[in-house]
């Protein structure tokens, strides 16, 4: 009924500002439906005592007091509206604590709670995936993140851990420093996993397995802490030998290349030699087959063929008299007299 009266006055603000200008107490009192409240009476009595003769000012003063009251009420309503309605995003959950006590979790959408000092709603991102990068360079001086492998070698490793929150309550209430804990647990799990493989495995073949092991191990440990988080994955970004020995590793790959090129050369040689043998023997076989048909003729023919070609291309001297030694000019001396003629 009182609320109806307030509405008929065209809102608390309208009534208050009008009252300041119009200043008609008799009109206002019946419209309010009730007499001045105890607080108003108290204020008015106080004014009368203190102010004494200022009786005329008493009426507007009462009106200003009313506006003040409505103002406070409005602020209060606003405060309640703002602090008891919460929009929770699709990736969020709202954890409600009532005087510090956990009372529930708001799902995405519009959520209601008691107003602020009673209920506090903490919005927690649950789907948002956080990434912790553990890079090389954490050792400062060496600029590397060195770890010992199972075969007592040293590896320089950089990796990242992705995680998100599964239980916002656990995340909020169980660990003092959840983010730091996740990082430490992941680091410890990584070093443990690396300590169980050899350097070569860590650098190459078993990277995927190591990533899985670390994720699993970190998850188990965090579950035992009731951390309320999920490790989404561990990714090894870099697994290298330390820079101090990287040259020696390069020598190995150079040696592998060299060895490969030796093999390639040998294989090329082998192909060539075998092909040559094949070719020559096939050619010989072909000629031999013909030779077998008419050995003597073929032999003579081949002989004349060859001699013809050979002798056609060469200078020839036939020594006729049996016992005369001919004068043979060396080829250079023979060539010389010809030069001026050219």
């Amino acid at each position: 009924m009182i609320a109806g009266a307030v509405l008929s006055e065209d809102g608390p603000w309208g009534g208050g500002s009008d009252g300041g200008e119009g200043g008609k107490t008799p009109w206002r009192a019946p419209a309010g439906g009730a007499g001045p409240s105890a607080l108003d009476a108290l204020i008015q009595r106080g004014r009368e005592r203190l102010g004494g003769g200022n009786g005329g000012g008493g009426a507007p003063g009462l009106h200003i007091g009313g506006a003040w009251r409505w103002g406070i009420l409005a602020l209060l309503l606003l405060w309640v509206a703002l602090t008891s309605a919460h929009t929770i995003g699709p990736q969020q959950r709202g954890v409600i604590t009532r005087f510090g006590k956990y009372v529930g979790t708001l799902q995405p959408g519009l959520g209601l709670s008691f107003p602020a000092p009673i209920d506090i709603v903490s919005k927690i991102d649950v789907d948002n995936i956080h990434v912790i990068d553990i890079d090389t360079g954490v050792d400062g001086a060496t600029g590397q993140n060195l770890m010992l492998t199972g075969d007592e070698n040293i590896i320089d490793l950089a990796y990242s851990v992705r995680w998100n929150i599964r239980d916002p309550e656990l995340y909020m209430f169980e660990l003092q420093d959840p983010d730091g804990t996740i990082k430490e647990v992941a680091e410890s799990a990584m070093r443990e996993a690396i300590a169980r493989v050899t350097l070569d495995q860590a650098i190459g073949a078993q990277r995927g397995q190591i990533e899985q092991q670390v994720a699993q191990r970190a998850q188990e440990t965090l579950d035992s802490y009731h951390a309320g988080v999920v490790i989404q994955g561990v990714a090894i970004k870099q697994a290298d030998p330390p820079s101090e020995v990287v040259d020696a590793f390069k020598e190995v790959s150079a040696a592998q290349q060299n060895a490969q090129s030796y093999l390639n050369q040998a294989r090329a040689y082998a192909t060539q030699v075998k092909a040559k043998a094949q070719g020559e023997s096939t050619a010989f076989d072909a000629v031999y087959a013909q030779y077998k048909l008419a050995p003597e003729v073929t032999r003579r023919r081949m002989y004349y063929d060859t001699m013809e070609r050979v002798l056609a291309k060469s200078d020839k001297t036939i020594v006729e008299p049996r016992n005369v030694v001919p004068y043979l000019a060396p080829p250079a001396a023979v060539a010389k007299p010809q030069e001026p003629a050219k």
Partner: protein, 286 residues
Amino acid sequence: MSALRRYPVIWAGAALLVLAVVLSSLTIVPETRQALVLRFGEPIRIINAYDRREEFGRTGAGLALKMPFVENLVWVDKRVLDFDMPRQAVLSTDQVRVEVDAFARYRIVNPVRMYVSAGSERRVSDALKPILGSALRNELGKRPFRILLSPERDVVMNNIRTSLARVAAQYGAEIVDVRIKRADLPDGTPLESAFNRMRTARQQQALSIQAEGQRQASIIRGDADAVAANTYAASFGKDPAFYDFYRAMQSYRYTFGTDDTQPRGSATILLSPDNDYLREFAGKKP
């Protein structure tokens, strides 16, 4: 109502007083904390005490009552707390110096004992830190270095945890976990010699890879030569005399550059009339 009208200031004062009493007897206990109630310094009870089977919302957190001015509260964290042990050099039985980092996680499960023996959580971790260090040294000092790089590492961590838990219980704390974070060779000579070992191992590997390559290459060549020789023998062996002739003819052609190759030098041939080639030249009858 009439009394209120007569003494408003007194009434306001009284109301304030009541409010103050009510407020000071009410406490907000968040989920993350336990409140130890002391009456004139004597521990009386614990609000929101840790219980491992607890569910949030049913643990006594929230508004709590206490007697004003008589009881006061000591706050104790209820969450899992942690402390890092600073890097320590540990000497294993095989005289390897290792630098070890570890962390421990614990929870105050007995706030009264914690308050009596330490006073605050900080003091608990200060007290536990050196004990973790010595437990670690003891445990690793009994074992060779390689243990740290093997599954037995878990045993080591469990032993450390057990011995730390014994001490922690005296402080009303429970050890949740102890974990060796890092176990590294210290900088300087040990690290350098490890690098050196890695380097030489790799160099050796490089040499053996190269040698193996050469060995296989030689085998391939030898095999090919053998196959070729076999092919030649199978073919030429059918008539060695003809082969000799055939090969001689080939050879002449090659040496005198008649097979389209360039001979190295020009040739002048001196023929005796007795030469078989000139047999017909001399007009003789054979």
